[in-house]
């Protein structure tokens, strides 16, 4: 009963065709098959948020999806956020506001926040605080993370302003 399937997925803009065991999780596809180890495993049962990636632009727990479920879909991981040397505004904001220390939770937070700001471009501090509550951070105490989220929201709004 060791079924395998051939799947095609676009990961960080690159098309991949790969044969996977049907029970392989999306997280393990990214980390083991595609060697994109920026996506981290904290609990592997959906509560810590470290494995959060974007599937078709929507933040999901990659430990709770099967690799076969992204056949024909687009996945964005932390490795796909920067544009060459140019950091994504949320990455820059994390640096500016000391929103990371060990960095283990960071990839999951970045993807979660990108989805959040896409839904709510003008969050209040309270909304931003609630938005990151699905990702556990043991180092920072969250203040810098919330500051970075609000700063990134402002930076993203500024990008959209007609010049």
């Amino acid at each position: 009963m060791h079924d395998e399937r051939r799947i095609q997925a676009t990961v960080n803009g690159a098309e991949h065709e790969v044969t996977v065991p049907v029970r392989l999780t999306l997280a393990d596809l990214l980390r083991q098959k595609l060697r994109l180890t920026g996506t981290h495993l904290g609990c592997e049962h959906g509560v810590c948020g470290a494995c959060t990636v974007l599937v078709d632009g929507v933040a999901v727990r990659s430990c709770l999806m099967l690799a076969v479920q992204v056949d024909g879909h687009e996945v964005t991981t932390v490795e796909g956020l920067a544009d060459g040397e140019n950091l994504h505004p949320i990455q820059q904001a994390f640096m500016d506001h000391h929103a990371l220390q060990c960095g283990f939770c960071t990839p999951g937070l970045l993807t979660s926040i990108i989805d959040f700001l896409g839904q709510n471009p003008t969050p209040t501090r309270e909304e931003a605080t609630e938005a990151v509550s699905g990702n556990i951070c043991r180092c920072t105490g969250y203040a810098g993370i919330v500051d970075a989220t609000l700063a990134a929201a402002e930076a993203l709004r500024a990008e959209d302003r007609p010049r």
Partner: protein, 291 residues
């Protein structure tokens, strides 16, 4: 590998799903995966065949009519949260969804999946109870409409056979100017609720109660309603005495002690939440009356 081996099926129609369920001995259905995948990863569940519903388009969708809302079982919680039509027709659903896990889990989690899993403190269970929802299930033997008060058998065990698939959930609507509230206590936002209360109230032109429904989560009986009180209170005006009365009534419901505390703790908590939910629902109904 996290989960144990299984055979994977990804059907495209409900007919294909129920045929598989009728044929396979040890099969599980995969909806949003936010409850089942953790169990699989922790190897706390065993099955030979996994039937993934992600390709079954007919299970998606929200239909709003003047007297009811029908939600396809695979409709994502995120879609329900963002639907303005749903917010207008079933405002308590949007409020309750804000307490369901976290945005990332709501992006995949489904309405049907949560109700099929039947965690006794699931917010959607409370909403289905207070709204007298109907669970529509299909198998090769046909369709069954299960009223929610008969649906939970016990924790994690609904009145569904292994061959049945929940296709949709029907929620009857309340009058347009009804009041609603969902109050919850959990150790942290997004954690499983220790107790929660869902309240709906409809006032007549004089401001007296025309109809009322209150459901509790966290007590021994899953999604328990306050029963006779709902009839007794018709014709009465909302008051602090009434709200205190619901708290006293709820405190007498059966509760089980666990790591969160003794039974008395849950009973007290449920009483407080029921009181707050009822007050909030009446305030909302009152302000809509005068709007």
């Amino acid at each position: 590998m996290k989960p144990a081996p299984f055979r994977y099926h990804d059907p495209s129609t409900v007919d294909e799903v129920v045929t598989l369920l009728g044929r396979l001995e040890e099969a599980k259905v995969l909806a949003g995966g936010q409850s089942l995948m953790p169990l699989m990863n922790l190897r706390m569940t065993g099955f030979d065949d996994l039937i993934d519903l992600k390709g079954v388009q007919e299970l998606q969708g929200i239909t709003v009519t003047s007297d009811q809302v029908t939600i396809g079982s695979m409709t994502r919680q995120r879609a329900c949260e963002h639907s303005d039509a749903l917010a207008e027709a079933l405002p308590i659903l949007r409020e309750a969804l804000g307490y369901v896990g976290h945005p990332q889990t709501r992006n995949r989690g489904t309405i049907g999946g949560s109700l099929a899993h039947l965690d006794p403190t699931a917010e959607l269970v409370g909403v289905a109870s207070v709204l007298d929802a109907q669970i529509i299930a299909r198998s090769t033997a046909g369709e069954r409409r299960i009223p929610f008060d008969r649906y939970p058998e016990m924790t994690f065990v609904p009145d569904l056979t292994d061959q049945e698939l929940i296709t949709e959930v029907v929620f009857p609507r309340w009058p347009e100017d009804h009041g609603w509230a969902f109050e919850e206590f959990a150790p942290r936002h997004g954690d499983f609720a220790i107790a929660a209360a869902a309240a709906l109230v409809s006032l007549n032109a004089e401001g007296a109660i025309d109809r009322i429904a209150v459901a509790l989560l966290g007590m021994s009986e899953i999604g328990v309603r306050v029963g006779d009180l709902e009839q007794e209170w018709r014709g009465q005006k909302p008051s602090e005495a009434l709200f205190a009365g619901v708290a006293e009534h709820v405190r007498r419901f059966d509760a089980t002690p666990d790591i969160h505390g003794p039974a008395a703790y849950r009973q007290h908590l449920a009483g407080v939440l029921a009181q707050r939910a009822l007050r909030h629902a009446c305030d909302r109904a009152g302000s809509r009356l005068h709007a």
